[in-house]
Amino acid sequence: MDPALLVEWLVKSGVIIFLILTGFAYLTLFERRVLARIQVRIGPNRAGPLGLLQPLADGIKLLFKEEVIPDKADKVIFILAPVLTVIPAFVLLAVIPLGPEISILGRSYSLSLAGDVNVGVLYLLAVASISVYGIVLAGWSSNNKYALLGGLRSAAQMISYELVLGLAFIGPILLANSMSLKDIIQAQSRVWFIVLQPIGFLLFLVASIAEVNRAPFDMPEAEQELTAGYHVEYSGMKFALFFMAEYGKMIVVSFITASLFLGGYLGPFVDKLPLLGPIYLLVKVTLILFFMIWVRATWPRIRYDRLMALGWKVLLPIGLLNIIITAILVILVGGY
């Protein structure tokens, strides 16, 4: 094996992990500030200028907290569950191209770890649902009935909305004739798929918010009925890992939405200045993240039975219908 290649992979993996970690830290701050503004408050602004050191302070606080493991918990699974939840958040980003190919010192590098994987979309679908295990097992191993119920509820919610997510993936694939994220982004060079797939985009947005357990679908945080859901018994760094998984997946889902429907890294002058690509992508991702926070500040939580009914009885049929319409149009029109 070529050692230069191994170094390249290590550097790229490091960048992805760094991206998720800092993204997670500053997304929490961003969310708190935006929520505060929407609720006419100020939000955390004491730690450092503009509160920019707040995530660091939170992290240090959590680091020095005692980690309580309930006496009757299944200890191995109790420790394994947060790890299982957080790994997909890191690994998903591997197949998403963060920019066009750039050349440094005569060698061209693609700005993704494995963006050429031709089953990219299926990879996203497959890896995303591994975190369901973390949640079910966290609930089960805690030996707490509220944790168990919360874990089961969020697991059922995640697998139901994953189907909607999968159906929404199919629209862009039909249009781009490929499952590779790279090809799907390239196919949007003339027109973004949000224009050709408006229903698919809305489905994807709703399903992805449900998939990452965010408001208004945040069943695990239904404090009133379930105390806190699957992570009620978790504390310290194990809790931090669950938190990191939620925010990491929020970021990844925004990257996926931007790549599938908003043209990914494409934008004006990208072909001349490739380094603009990642900047465009980050702007799009930030806008989607802002939208998710805005939704949280605006919508009340949906009751669980209505949540499941929405997924199975409304979104799933619409998703199937969207595929049928898109397929007919693709055959009738041919190219677009």
């Binding site: 992979w9 993996s13 992805i16 907290k65 947060p82 805690s142 059922a156 004739n177 931090a240």
Partner: protein, 118 residues
């Protein structure tokens, strides 16, 4: 293609290592003062009653079965979607038949109340 997945393997190893390192840091710096109250299940300060682990309602099983079926359906649709433009109207009809048969089951599940939560 193994070459395409090797970098992903590198990333998985790094991410796993990082998660365990974070857990280890918490173990090193956090205090450790267990007592029986702390180890008991948290139920908002009330004394816990009943067993912590109970049998799961059958409904979650049904949702999981439905998930498998539609998951398999989506996986069948994906390679079809890649080549639909070459297949033409005939491919569309055949996939329509496949989905229609599954929809019979979906309608049955709906009618039998498998999608109701109460």
């Amino acid at each position: 293609m193994p070459e395409d997945f090797l970098p992903i393997a590198v990333l998985i190893i790094l991410a796993t290592g990082l998660s365990f390192t974070i857990l280890l840091l918490g173990q090193i710096f956090g205090p450790r003062r267990p007592n029986p109250r702390k180890g008991s299940p948290y139920e908002s300060g009330m004394r816990p009653y009943g067993k912590g682990q109970r049998r799961v309602p059958i409904h979650y099983y049904l949702i999981a079965v439905l998930f498998i079926l539609f998951d398999v359906e989506i996986i069948f649709i994906l390679p079809w979607a890649v080549v639909l433009r070459d297949l033409g109207i005939f491919g569309l009809i055949e996939m329509g038949l496949f989905v229609a048969i599954l929809l019979i089951g979906f309608v049955y599940a709906w009618k039998k109340g498998a999608l109701e939560w109460d």
